[in-house]
Symmetry: C2
């Protein structure tokens, strides 16, 4: 749990949007045809208006920071919030800051 890396990951509106959308996948990704239990399919995040490669980069940054988990299912990769890391980060920030 690298606090600095997480802060950098959060200091970007697109990535913050992604994390927030993941709180309510049903509401924010109505076009997804896969069940939401698996998470949200990577391509769904292109709805933020950014290109596929840019979205992939943002997801990679969130993943390396530990803020999301990913799981490959067939040709797709599904993302979920990593609530454990998020909670641990908030707790540490509340203590440190």
């Amino acid at each position: 749990m690298d606090k600095d890396e997480i802060l950098k990951a959060l200091a970007n509106p697109a990535r913050m949007d992604i994390l927030n959308w993941l709180k309510n996948p049903e509401e924010h990704f109505p076009t997804q045809e896969h069940p939401f239990e698996m998470g949200v399919c990577a391509s769904q995040f292109e709805r933020c208006g950014l290109s596929q490669s840019t979205v992939s980069s943002h997801l990679g940054i969130l993943h390396r920071a530990g803020l999301v988990t990913s799981k490959r299912v067939g040709q797709w990769i599904f993302y979920k919030r990593n609530e454990e890391t998020i909670a641990a980060f908030l707790q540490q920030l509340t203590q440190d800051l």
Copy 2:
């Protein structure tokens, strides 16, 4: 209270250091000759190894984000943590994130 601006301000090790040092001025700024009730004199932060102009810039960013308050006393400017804004930010982040 601009959450994005605060996150950007926090996503920098030097600025995070400054905020942390301000929690215990007596411990981290033993060379200051002014009473700590006024805060910590701007020049004290040059102990992080950065130049005067760079330190001034970092303090400006923290100040514009609302994370510190400043007060001029004579030719000096003293900085303190803005605990109200910090607490409000942590609360909002805990809700939003």
